[in-house]
Symmetry: D2
Subunit: 399 residues, 4 copies
């Protein structure tokens, strides 16, 4: 297990933007970043309300003089610090509509970034951000955190190695129930911004969770999309954004993909599950039971691959993402931490003046962020055109 | 548990068409029909090859003089028998392309019929058959056997009673793997006719299994369809009919349905599963584990309803479909037998000169058969038009 | 699939003793016996109350002249019939305390017998019955029906073939909840006799269900027992027989077995499950999900063996016990029917004057019945002696 | 979610004893202790080999001057530090045989302690340690980490509140397979000391894992034991300590408990599972799927309680142990961290001069440690006396 940062010989210093009271994801970022003892949270702009920003700092053990009132202040004051105190990276855990300007400010100042998904408010912002990242050369990760699960990474390596043959079908689903009723009317902060087109963007469920489901299939299989047809629904009366939807995707190799997202399915918690069919085998994985994956091949007993870093069947990507032996379950925090762990490796390379792969990274990056925004844009557009097939070749996509 | 046929005071007499050597479904029909000791198999036209028809009879304990060489011979000779020996009903267990002429002959002769699905080769035949059934007044059941599972019937009653509120989403899937390779090239009789457009009809997987998945959702929810968009695929090189496909259905009440069918998913056996989302609750059921159904409601623990005929939570339809107490699993044969059981009740009414409901029956009937053929026709047509939305209001549909 | 009885060329004729109104198991016997169309129920002594015996006959489609008032009448009148009408075997589905005299009468008259378990009221009766069976040469099966599941038979063949190495631990459990409250006080016939020492014998839960659990382990592994220590409990106040209990068994090869039985575990239905540990592998099987078995080997993914008669991994015993392809679940009735199927093969041999194996049969037999009674006797005795180790080498046991 | 330590207004300072290269549990302690950002690891005696102790420090980010070579050095030098730098607590993550002297040194110096289980090498040490803790007044927790799972704590509160009625049966199992072969011969450090009586103590599997299983039942139910009967086995040829065993426990209220532990069950990873039967309900929980618990009550659908801190059904103990909303799985690290979290609350009270409950704590404590050693001692003694019933009333036990 890694702990320190090799030749760097110190912890990486983190700033958190967002994460003030009422935030769920800010805490996740700080725990995930620090889990391996490779980083410490030293600064923050925890709220767009400067007073609340200050007040939230003690809960993160952030010193008062580094509890800033805005990203601008954060960047300015951190740049003014000696290099050996200055932060190394900024984690963005704010509502969607603010991601772009925060990320832009951070990237232009040369800070590495871990940004929540969807990466921006719309595709144009995403494309611009991609250019900025390319220009600045920072490490930029996007928190498609479900790609951090060891068995997801094992599956990806197996698929890319051809162990399942040609991939022909991908069924990716993300089913929740928490927005069954109009929580956004009940002063529930999470629900409020996610259902508000001014803050969430063009899509509701499709922006919030279908992007994860789509990304998971893309990440696992490497299949490149060609066309998309989508139908979105609003089932909760009066809501402004989709709370249910379904897309069909034609991949360039002829495979068929389906993405289903729901926020109105009673009792479903965070049920991201995926099935992949290849000519040589098929797999199924479910986020709520992340320590096992089912692999099936005709004529053989079904195989349950457990997250076992010491097993002969575990491949390198999978093993590298484990922290505990088999039977000692790992879960959400550890997967999230694996995004950080992989991004940290790239950051250390950058800090040390060594090259690092920018595009086909083990962690989701700015190109995946662009593709996610493209997915949202084309899904919404197709739905508005009665489910018409729209082109969906994303130039920026990872291979 | 029923055993005898009430006022009729005798077993019903059955003839089987199809079911010769190599047939899987013929044996299922005979076991299912006789399971409750309410019917006996006394006659058959077990093969279209007269010699094979004779040769197959002993395995069913059919006497040589009632082992006929064709449906025509069967009808002619049975009609010539005294009424107290003559068969009461004919079960049709032949490949799709022969259903219509057999069923027509049987119905016109006044025999009750249990017919395999899909009911006919095409929609025109189905419509004609419906008219013939209406004219003759026979009992006509279609073997959408999965509707016979006790928990499916319980779910239907719960939904129709409003226990799940307004239904908004239905996700119905039927995933198999047995046609992953081109078994039809290897002298496998089942595979051969099912992949042959001249015998199976316009669709492959969509005719063979998506019809079941669609029917299951319709049966459970009672939702009426409005439009359908479908995309079919042939993944096994050289195959003539779809082995994978996906349809989106808009129901008249605004609900969204999806139907996915696959015959190329490694290791998947007969995995019909359905999820239904309503405003007051959601359910999930899986054919391969038929003795339990999951019901979820926000804010409550998830509920596993087991097939327990004595439990307070079990409703009338569910209990009536059980033969064993909880924990003593029931399965495929018993569900299939429940189609017979329900059809027998109608037959006894008919034989006794009493009225019986022709359309909204507990068992799948000729109207469901017509709707199934309409589903296949519009799915194929939509797929040929690149997934265009096509009208899908079926006039004959049960409510 | 078998249907007719080979060279015998006719159905076997069955008489049922017990099974009158309120009986659950009588109906199971008749359905199981007739499932494959190899037998027909033609006679019965359905109740010890002659009037009720007559009244129950129509529900089984037994003709009035063969609805007898007692086993004595049944035997006498059947023996008086011409051989080509006379019954071939008698199924005994009555409370425990009556098994012996019924079976004795049947066996001495030369009829084959299928007898419910536990086989007799006490061990002395069991030993005597064994001698009678040996003398008469009839086929005698005991309805340890859970041994009829295809995957149980597959497991047995795998274990006996050494695929799991030396067996070192067997954990067998049978957990129910239906006697949580004192149903026997509420005019529930099943509960009444099972909790009455005069009718059930020396044990309650241990006689009713622990015998199944013990038998399942013995059947699967072939391990021979050496010693037993047992502790029984009565948790429902006022009950006379154990409703919970636990035994530890030392097998002759040094393996350790545990048997746990409960009838007071809320919500547990019929949860017979077993785990077997060998030096080369381990397996787990659960009766409520009988179509799958989990096989584990260190360093390999866990394997789910499904009941797939066509799979390369399915062995001969397993395949022979299947009636349906994979994914079309089989369950309780079919397993029960497999006891009949195997016993029928022996009966046909006997009727045809051919030899048949009496002891190490694929179906549970009179020797297993004796061992079951020995298990009950020693369990109760050990419990009365505060869990002392008692000898448990059963001379009559199958190898 | 807690982060800082209330009125204390600083992180607690931790020292780790053990955890050098090859250690699994040392890393778990450091991650668990720091997960909530309430503590920081500042000192260590990471190995009994002083050089290795120094060499292991960087991996934990421990400064060289606080990387000590022994517990004695650690205590001496830390006591010499100013109070505002000195450690607050010592975590002991060494093999069993060293726990006592380390803990004694720590406790006598007035440091709070988190000690691995089993707490000591034998019962006499445990009793002495208990006295020392009582005298010194330190906070002393024992890492029966499985009690930290939110659903375990929810279950405990439900049971102690009487929601399951009187508890009558507890079946607790801990099944592993990793010691199937003699890993201890292959230079596997974990296996080596655990199978060595000089280092592990009187028991192998029973000391290592059965103690957890026993403790889990005790913690959940609060039942007090009266007598124990145990049978231990060594299945791996040449091994010196039990690798399989089984105990039966009579509780003072008349309930029956069983504890089964195995380290030789192929493919079983870390399968701790428990079933509890009460007069009003029953529950089942499995460590490998810790985010759900099954609750059953006769006549009701089975209930799956998920770890949902916001659900109406979640009680206070359960909710307080959660860090993430439902569907975002939590696992091993978080449960372990909950032991720390609860102990930290007590430490803060102690540091602040406020009283704290010493015995009936939410975290496992020195009294549980004593009971665990008593469990091991009586299990081994009973097994040596052929499974005789031995008294098992532990005077020190929590109520």
């Amino acid at each position: 297990m890694e702990t320190m940062n090799g030749q760097l010989n110190r912890k990486l210093r983190m700033a958190l933007v967002g994460g003030g009271q009422g935030s769920f994801i800010g805490r996740v970022h700080s725990i995930a970043a620090c889990l391996d003892n490779r980083a410490e949270l030293v600064a923050g702009a925890l709220s767009s309300n400067p007073e609340k920003a200050k007040a939230s700092a003690p809960a993160y053990d952030i010193k008062p003089d580094r509890a800033y009132g805005s990203i601008e202040e954060l960047v300015e004051k951190e740049l003014a610090l000696p290099e050996d105190q200055r932060i190394d990276f900024i984690s963005i855990a704010t509502p969607n509509f603010t991601h772009f300007s925060i990320a832009k400010t951070a990237v232009e100042a040369g800070f590495n970034v871990i940004c929540d998904k969807p990466m921006t408010f719309d595709l144009a912002q995403a494309e611009e951000l991609k250019s900025l990242v390319e220009k600045s050369g920072v490490v930029f990760a996007v928190s498609h955190n479900y790609t951090g699960y060891p068995l997801v990474r094992m599956a990806r390596e197996m698929i890319l190695n051809g162990e399942f043959g040609e991939i022909q079908a991908v069924r990716s689903n993300y089913i929740q129930g928490w927005l069954r009723s109009r929580l956004e009317e009940e002063d529930q902060k999470q629900a409020a911004w996610r259902t508000d087109p001014a803050k969430s963007g063009a899509a509701g469920a499709f922006g919030d969770i279908a992007t994860h489901a789509y990304n998971l299939g893309r990440y696992m299989t490497g299949l490149l999309p060609a066309e998309i047809s989508c139908n979105l629904k609003i089932f909760a009366p009066g809501r402004q954004l989709d709370d249910y939807g379904h897309a069909v995707i034609r991949f360039q190799n002829g495979a068929m993909g389906t993405v289903t997202a729901s926020q109105i399915s009673h009792g479903r918690e965070n049920d991201l599950f995926i099935e992949v069919d290849g000519t040589k085998g098929a797999l199924a994985w479910r986020q709520e039971e992340p320590n096992q994956m089912i692999v099936r091949r005709n004529g053989q007993p079904h195989s349950i691959y457990t997250r076992d870093p010491n097993a002969p069947f575990m491949n390198e990507s999978g093993a590298a993402a484990c922290r505990l032996p088999a039977g000692h379950p790992e879960a959400f925090f550890e997967a999230f931490a694996n995004i950080y762990r992989s991004a940290f490796d790239a950051m250390i390379n950058r800090i040390s003046g060594q090259p690092f792969e920018p595009k086909n990274t083990i962690y989701p990056n700015v190109y995946d962020g662009v593709e996610g925004m493209f997915f949202i844009q084309q899904s919404v557009a197709s739905s508005q055109e009665n489910g018409a097939w729209l082109p969906f070749q994303c130039e920026s996509a990872r291979s």
